[in-house]
Symmetry: D2
Subunit: 343 residues, 4 copies
């Protein structure tokens, strides 16, 4: 952190700033320097706890620049370059050489619907089944999921197909219940900054799939992951799902931010996957954006598939048919090879 004093700031004002900094007992060096016109105070080290100090309104201060990122444990440098490989089952891990494919319907609707879809995606090569029982919906008039009944269906289909399951947990008091059937707990985009929920899943022993809020920065996303790591759960998978931008002229729902994926693979040890279905909202964009995601470095995909999208109670327009997903797996296999990975 660098505090730049105004031209004409006094020694007393500088001392006052330094005194304030010292109160925090930082693991950091403080070194003031004096030019002809100005004083500048550099504080180099772990300055995270200074972030909330309003230096900019203290006497003599012109502006403040931060250097250290606000997160710590999520950094690849924190683990000295060791990447987190999230174990799902003995033979199934997210974040290694293998690209992991999670597929299934947006919401659980009936046992028949989930089972049919699950069987088809398993056959095509999916590793994990997705499907929501509790659905956060923008409108109170939309289908909100089957709730507990949905969880029971998930349990049955999991048993019949042998597929592990990722499903959403909406609030902290549902974690135990959802954990009974879920192999991965999903935190939805709208809950990315539900800090009580983040802390609660940070204390449980399930892998967490943390979706990026559609309007959240990469920095905020990593801070939300930090909340989970901070409480002890390091098995966090980040999932990019498109951000909200000015672009909505042609019906694409969000802008899939693949630069974020490429960037995250460079600075965090956590695995990163991509949800091309919510990102685009259009079935015929799911295929090319899935290929692009893997080419950008993603560790896996979360794709909506429905055996009969026309009858889907939510997200029908963006769901792949089983035969589309079949094709997707074949294409992803080629791309994975091209980037030195495998499906």
């Amino acid at each position: 952190m660098i505090v730049i004093m105004r031209a004409g700031a006094t020694k007393g004002e500088e001392d006052n700033i330094i005194k304030r900094i010292r109160e925090y007992n930082l693991d950091a060096d403080i070194y003031p320097s004096h030019g002809k016109e100005r004083r500048v105070i550099g504080i180099i080290g772990n300055t995270r706890s200074l972030r909330d100090v309003p230096f900019e309104i203290m006497p003599g201060v012109e502006t403040v620049k931060t250097v250290t990122p606000p997160y710590e444990k999520v950094l690849l440098s924190f683990t000295k370059g060791k990447r987190t490989i999230v174990p799902i089952r003995d033979d199934l891990k997210v974040g290694g050489k293998k690209i992991i494919l999670m597929a299934g319907p947006c919401a659980v609707e009936t046992k028949n619907q989930l089972l049919k879809t699950a069987k088809s995606v398993k056959e095509a090569g999916a590793h994990i089944l997705r499907g929501g029982a509790f659905k956060p919906r923008t409108s109170p008039y939309s289908f909100q999921g089957l709730g507990k009944e949905g969880l029971e269906i998930i349990s049955e289909v999991k048993e019949e197909t042998g597929l592990p399951v990722v499903t959403e947990v909406k609030s902290d008091n549902m974690i135990d219940l959802v954990s009974q059937c879920a192999d991965i707990l999903q935190i939805g985009a709208r809950n990315m900054q539900n800090f009580d929920l983040l802390e609660a899943v940070g204390k449980c022993n399930k892998p967490i799939l943390l979706k990026r809020g559609m309007q959240n920065t990469i920095e905020e996303w990593l801070l939300s992951a930090e909340y989970i790591l901070q409480k002890g759960n390091w098995n966090v998978i980040l999932c990019e799902r498109g951000i909200r931008t000015f672009e909505n002229s042609v019906g694409i729902r969000n802008t899939l931010d693949l630069s974020a994926v490429a960037f995250l693979k460079q600075i965090t040890h956590l695995p990163v996957i991509v949800d091309p279905s919510h990102a685009t909202g259009k079935r015929n964009l799911v295929m090319p954006m899935s290929r692009a995601a893997i080419a950008a470095g993603a560790d896996g995909l979360l794709v909506e598939v429905h055996w009969n999208p026309e009858e889907a109670r939510s997200d029908g327009a963006q769901s792949l048919l089983p035969e589309d997903f079949n094709q997707l797996v074949r294409e992803i296999r080629e791309i994975a090879k091209a980037v030195g990975r495998e499906v």
Copy 2:
């Protein structure tokens, strides 16, 4: 809702669409029309429940246009033009001719801090005290509020000053506790789409202050209010607090969207207030944006004031000093007069 069929779509495809619509038993007219080249199906009336039907992937469909807004109870037309006046106390209401000023620190820090600030804003003319005990924070390393201890301080200061209080409730299992001291329950920006929380406050009997999510559309905001009304609580105050845009070149935190305020006053019966402190993040922009908010038609302000902002544990840089707030009240009084209102 208008379903436009592709050129060459068949009568059978059209019938299929109409059959699907009829399944919903809508309170709406369906009338197909046939041009030389195309078929168009108009469905005019309450089509809210059709919103999740993926018409666009059904055979023969080119595109779908919606007409009816997705919300209903929040509309001024729903109450036939009657505005909601939210009662706080016998002599204090939000949404009437009187502009309501809510002021106080971001977070409760100590009794001394809250009491000193409360007394000064009361003297200046504030009607309601603000202050948070539970603070949702982007970083796990930031001050998260005093929690229950903060609520106790709020109770004491409320008793000593006689000011009613607005304070935040972060999750549904805290509603009872917070309601013991709060006159208005605040739903924070990051919780605007925490639907469990919205439903829970919809069942309680306290007025609700619903902040706009910093990246949420007006439509989503009204749908979140609809969640609350839908459960029976009509005492909802909307609070604009700035939206996230590309503009961050000069350190202004968010873009205060006053068009939203002007627009909302035209279409909803709910009162609308403005938080210029979070919107701008800069003390010296709070004053002009407060004036602008009232000129645009806002029913009140939610302003951060701290008797010693340099020592504030959060939001110090955007907090007004008591003397600034004093000045603000004087200026707002003039603007209120100019638009036919009063403070």
Copy 3:
């Protein structure tokens, strides 16, 4: 500018950076400082010419922070607090105590249309007539203005009504022609970064109205103004007209950024006005946003008025009727008084 070296960067790497900086012969101090772990190089003064140096890829560098804003002449501190008052006529100036109202149709369509509208706005209290002869349009199929014929109509109406005129100049080779009838040359939002045009109007002796690009930052806007000042023309009026954001859920065209207005009045000596018509795109939002603009500190308004908006060839939906404008002037008069100004 602060260059923060990586932990472990060498003295040689630091010297290399300093050597590079010295090549620029800056009016600035360079002072390196060494903590236990790191080296930091502060360069305080006019570092504008260092902005394009890619320090961040030079050996040993971790990151670079800029302090000095990239513009200079537009700053209020550059004129030592003296504000620019732009003279239009002997008795008409923009930027003083008086709020200036510019009104008229989007485009010049016929003499009758412009004359009727001009007379009505003059009578209501407008100071300047607006109207475009050359219209930059997003679609090649839209009405592009009457061109030279439009300029002739403007000249005639100007003579008959005595109103000074603001009209758009689209490219540098049209400046002389447009200057024959224009009292103020308008640079449209889409031309805000047409740097050839900016330099050309910087050399002419007409006042310039510089609209903010709908997706440009305040910093970029001030840099575009700097282009004009740099070439010698200091009579620049800034015009905020709404920015493009994610918000388009309810048909408001852009988000009027009044914080920008309040901020600019604090840091630049140039006058700032607001165009509420293009900002909102809706006739019934023009009134409240005009009031809010003046309350935020704007020096004037640029408003679309048409005596028969239904027949307008562009922007009909956002044009006020003459009687609306009449009402607007009355309301602005009240707001002006409340903020110590006059119309």
Copy 4:
């Protein structure tokens, strides 16, 4: 286009609307339909010329929905599925099976710099040399390019290396001059809506590379292309280069919008390439985003390469070294194969 009348609108109001539509002699069907409560007027066909009619303020109208996209000639359906292959030289075309690589420095600085870089990218496999002589720059204090001298250098290097050249044209009066050395004329992002320039290049016989404005929608981009096609020049290459969004928390310059690429390949016959250098602004993101671009369906890349980026006068931080570009070509070759294409 669908005009939805208010409940209670009269037959006369409907007739008035229809009369207004008929004035335009459209190649479209008009068919009104009457439900129990409302009248709806469908106009299906080419309704482009109705876009500027302010129906929404005409008596009895509630809202208007458009169906036909505003552009026409750019549509893949307009050419009945035939894709435009842009010829550069006899053996070099953009838009076919072959992925085209354009590489070189941001700006021409010296003959030595351009020649050295050109030779290295040619050897690595680039097909076309990039380099700007006229540089539109946000700040008046930045390097603006060598101008005519730069064009001469380009001509010499072109002759010595045999590489065709893409370079920017900033204004319509420079087209002839720049055409003397350019094989492709580039329209920069900030000029995407410089309509005079678009019309002028529409009349010349050079291929045009049309960059997307960093804040422009896909719809606006296609309309700008339509301006060029409309004037007779169909050899237009679209170039995605990142859009401006809220995301700037970690120093990535723009958000590369690859969904736009995938979408465009589905609806327009024009080739689409990607500039990963300007999109990300970071050298180490260029490689993964190049791979992702090709996987998403792009027809080529425009990449900044500099033989000595530290000395670059602009964009040094995002320029690849020749050896990086070498690696990039190898990786792109693999991805191209995976999607059934070749380099």
